[in-house]
Symmetry: C2
Subunit: 210 residues, 2 copies
DNA sequence: TAGATTGTTAATCGATTAACAATC
DNA sequence: TAGATTGTTAATCGATTAACAATC
């Protein structure tokens, strides 16, 4: 898959296509046109066709798209069939919430470790996994080679934790701390800055009040 | 503040400006040029000046920007000085994590109620607030008139919960369930679809493997 | 074949960057 | 005044939408 680089805006729309196609499958709908899908999703049919054609011609003139085939294709494009091994650092409420969220395992992410520094939490069972002491982290990474580290620690700790996991070879981080991490270029980071989202909501409320 | 509509992309960048300016203040830096700020943030100076000028001329030729004044201005633009009253529906791990997250109160959001249907959770103390029974929700909203409802419930429940809070007059929802809510046009909804973010990370990992 | 709908090119729209006159 | 840096206009770049020939 060389060709020209797929724009990030398109990539960020793929999960939503995946979700809607999954719902169609649940409803036993096996065929859909870009126009039908566009009406359900509230986007233009043109955009759907353009987006999909970044990855290949999945449709058929005069027919539309085979839902199952398209769903499976997007699953592969998103890498959800790779069974990425995942660890969570931080077993506070957020870490626990993420561990227990069924959506991740359903999308092929396999949780294989949870770590915390707090003695009161270490040893606890979360989502079927025993929380390990943070001091065991680096050995664990070396042996288990997880693909993704989820950083659910306070922002005061996150820089150190990120360095630690990266030094031991993790190449993809999902960061919930309100900090922009500065890491080597080959390390992938996806930030979830919850405050940003809430402030955007606040902005809109503010505006409407005028 | 009429004039032309500020693009959503600009609004979504404001929280990040706010954060970096706050850090400058913490470091007792009271003056900054668009070029200096652009280097710290990894964006272009042009973009910063364009963005800020959507809201007014905050800078001064030959000098740059007064950090404190700019910070305060963005605080107001984002509505963080309004003390929006907030309730959380769902006191599972996610609800608790959000309740305990200090960043919200620091940015002026005031948590005034937490609700759940689970008898084992109702009555518990979370972030200094007693979890109330879900049946008390509609009366509570009528009397306390919260501005924002945070939906931290499973996706199977979220449609019903959203309808309930909207019917009782809440006009802004922060939704964590993996569903696109369909609500009256005057209700503001900001979605946090965590899976989408993780799938984007997964896509990038997948791509790099080729 | 006739009808439907894609894939793709061209046109439009919007966002980002560059440039520079205004001005502190 | 000379130097610095904004505010703003113009140029570029990219993303979205429209249109339609290709084709199932």
């Amino acid at each position: 898959m060389s060709g020209k680089q797929v724009p990030l805006v398109v990539i960020r729309r793929l999960p939503r296509y995946h979700r809607y196609l999954g719902e169609l499958l649940n409803n036993k709908i096996y065929r859909v046109s870009s126009t039908e899908l566009s009406e359900k999703m509230g986007v233009t049919a043109s955009q759907i066709r353009q987006d999909l054609n970044c990855f290949g011609g999945f449709g058929q003139q005069g027919y539309g798209y085979n839902v199952e085939m398209l769903y499976d294709s997007i699953t592969k494009i998103l890498g959800l069939n790779n069974g990425y091994k995942t660890i969570i650092i931080g077993a506070g409420n957020l870490g626990k919430a993420l561990a227990n969220y069924g959506g991740f395992s359903k999308r092929g992410f396999e949780l294989c470790g949870i770590f915390d520094t707090d003695e009161n939490v270490v040893g606890e069972e979360v989502a079927g996994i025993t929380v390990k002491d943070y001091t065991e982290l680096s050995d664990f990474i070396k042996h288990e080679k997880p693909d993704i580290a989820i950083l659910a620690v306070p922002k005061t700790a996150v820089t150190e934790v990120a360095d630690e996991v990266v030094q031991n070879g993790v190449k993809a981080l999902w960061n919930f701390a309100y900090v922009d991490l500065d890491l080597p270029g080959d390390v992938l980071v996806e930030n979830v800055h919850l405050s940003d989202s809430l402030m955007t909501l606040s902005y809109k409320m503010n505006k409407y009040g005028e």
